[in-house]
């Protein structure tokens, strides 16, 4: 069985083709992406992002078919991101999916974006039943599987961790290319001083707005030296690098802690990190140290699968398709809100 997957819930447009053969690992035929990058100091707006997706969706699909040598008649279904995400970009991709479905006469399968990340992560890493940390620009969730659903054990109570990093990057005028989080990671490697920042964990939940407010005002002080230059407690000047380092060390410690709480709670020693922030090597390293202390290990993927992509939508969609799921044309809507635990996971025991 072969599925085409279309993803566009945020600023990446992804197209993927996947092949499932019973008893074998999934085969990735194509996995390509085009990113809408906004200028430094700015976020991506829904309208511009939707326009980006509309203008790139056809060339990207053509390229995926051509590169992989896939013929239209070999495709079994068309999978698209139903949500969660930004309304306008989701819609532009859903329209592309519906059009192809009518044009080619193929069934549609609407996919939950978060479930896409989880299933692709499991497939690539071979992690069988891990606790999942899903961290991206719009989501921060600690998830474990039980009784046919991915249940959310913990989450950010206010803004997502990626959103916190992105907004801080904007204040400090860190470029959005290739991604703000990536650029923060590179700067953080040269940080020396750890500043005292708010650390907020409540059970398996956490909160990032307090730390963002503090680090944002420190960033402004650093840039303007107003009302006075920013110094460490021992009197040395604080650098951009120090701020990035302190922010990363603190928010990642919070993430690792809530993940560890969930692992202790469900009695698991495997952890899988997915979502764009999951590419961060420092986060992966910290997670690995935690898992090792518990006698387990961390599973993570690289940017091809961590960052939003079409292949994960194709993969999760095809798993559902295999269980007989179809999304009728009338029902092929999308939704900004779509919780991970709403999906009935038929394909797992």
């Amino acid at each position: 069985m072969i599925a085409l997957g279309l993803e566009g819930s945020a600023n990446k447009l992804g197209v993927g083709l996947i092949k499932h053969t019973p008893g074998q690992p999934a085969e990735i035929l194509s996995n390509i992406r085009h990113t809408f990058v906004s200028p430094p100091g700015e976020g991506f707006l829904p309208k511009d992002t939707a326009k980006h997706h509309r203008s790139w969706v056809v060339p990207l699909i053509k390229r995926a078919l051509k590169e992989s040598g896939t013929r239209v008649q070999d495709i079994d279904c068309i999978c698209y991101t139903k949500g969660p995400g930004m309304g306008a970009p989701l819609q532009s991709v859903a329209i592309a999916a519906r059009t192809l479905s009518l044009l080619w006469g193929k069934p549609l399968v609407g996919v939950n974006h978060c479930v896409g990340h989880i299933e692709m992560g499991r497939e690539i890493t071979g992690a069988d039943n891990p606790v999942v940390l899903y961290v991206s620009g719009g989501n921060t969730q600690v998830i474990a599987y039980a009784e046919q659903r991915y249940r959310i054990f913990g989450e950010a109570l206010d803004i997502a961790v990626g959103n916190c990093l992105d907004r801080f990057a904007r204040t400090l005028h860190i470029p959005n290319d290739p991604a703000p989080g990536y650029n923060i990671e590179q700067l953080a490697k040269r940080g020396q001083h750890l500043l005292d920042l708010p650390y907020t964990v409540k059970g398996m939940d956490c909160s990032f707005s307090g730390i963002l407010a503090v680090v944002d005002s420190l960033a402004t002080q650093l840039l303007t030296s107003h009302p006075k230059p920013l110094l460490t407690p021992s009197g040395e000047p604080v650098t951009k690098e120090d701020l990035c380092f302190s922010l990363q060390e603190t928010v990642f410690a919070m993430l690792v802690e809530i993940t560890e709480r969930a692992m202790a709670h469900v009695g698991s020693s495997q952890v899988l990190v997915v979502g764009g922030v999951g590419c961060n090597e420092r986060l992966q390293e910290m997670m690995g140290l935690m898992a090792a202390q518990r006698g387990g290990s961390v599973f993570a993927t690289d940017e091809r699968f961590c960052i939003d992509n079409g292949i994960m939508i194709a993969h999760a969609g095809l798993l559902a398709y295999g269980e007989g799921e179809r999304t009728p044309l009338e029902g092929s809507t999308c939704t900004q809100r779509f919780r991970t635990d709403e999906v009935l996971v038929r394909w797992r025991k």
Partner: protein
């Protein structure tokens, strides 16, 4: 003249009973071999920056000990504190003879018709949390693992009967008069219920109504809980 500090690490053997999220928890004795005690030790977390790790561990050991003492002074059922060593990250406290609400729930719900048997326990959970909030103590990590039920007359809780509900694990707690903090406490507990005991989800209503009756500010906190839930749903707007 002050007496030398007691040496808690007396020769008693320690038995590891749990590796929780942050702590290693041992069963041991305190001062005399006949006084059973619990040793809670927070080891270094190698994944954290050492400065941050030291700051968090010290803060948590001290706030756990302070809140236990404060709650106990007000007659709220919590273990008594015997000895605190914040530099080393450890607390010795009263050994509670019983099991966690989580274990009791799992055991009872596994038996046919179990749901009817836990009502009374749910009421006692709601009341215990109510008393805590009335005293302006916010727990910070309310789960069914952090609530224990004492054995009655040496017998394990089975019928959801009379065993006293004891609150433990206050490392993330704080003193707060804010309705918001109390509502988040309930929200955390609600989600612990639904994710850990999917079958018992509706039992949580009993917890909430007992909570609402148990103290004067309870109703207001319950209203605030609605807002916290709403925010939870709105939050999932972006992929």
């Amino acid at each position: 003249m002050t007496a030398p500090p007691p040496d808690p690490s007396d020769a008693t053997p320690k038995t590891l009973i749990s590796q929780g999220a942050e702590a290693l928890v041992y069963r041991t004795t305190f001062l005399v071999p006949t006084l059973p005690a619990l040793l809670k030790h927070r080891p270094r977390k190698t994944y954290r920056h050492p400065t941050l790790d030291a700051r968090l561990t010290k803060h948590r050991v001290l706030s756990e000990a302070r809140l236990l003492v404060r709650a106990r002074g007000l007659g709220i059922p919590v273990p008594a504190v015997y000895f605190v060593d914040e530099a080393n990250g450890s607390i010795f406290m009263e050994w509670i003879d019983g099991s966690s609400v989580r274990q009791v729930l799992d055991a009872i719900l596994a038996s046919p018709g179990g749901e009817g048997k836990v009502d009374a326990m749910m009421v006692r959970v709601g009341e215990a949390v109510g008393r805590l909030h009335k005293a302006d103590i916010v727990h910070g990590d309310l789960t069914t693992s952090n609530l224990m039920v004492r054995k009655v007359g040496g017998v394990e809780e089975q019928e959801g009967g009379a065993g006293e509900v004891v609150l433990i694990d206050f490392g993330l707690g704080q003193v707060s008069t804010q309705e918001e903090d109390k509502a988040v406490d309930l929200y955390v507990l609600e989600r612990a219920f639904s994710s850990t005991h999917p079958k018992a989800e509706k039992l949580f209503e009993d917890v909430l109504s007992a909570y609402g009756r148990s103290w004067k500010g309870g109703k207001t906190v319950l209203r605030r809980l609605q807002d916290v839930r709403m925010r939870g749903r709105k939050r999932s707007m972006l992929g």
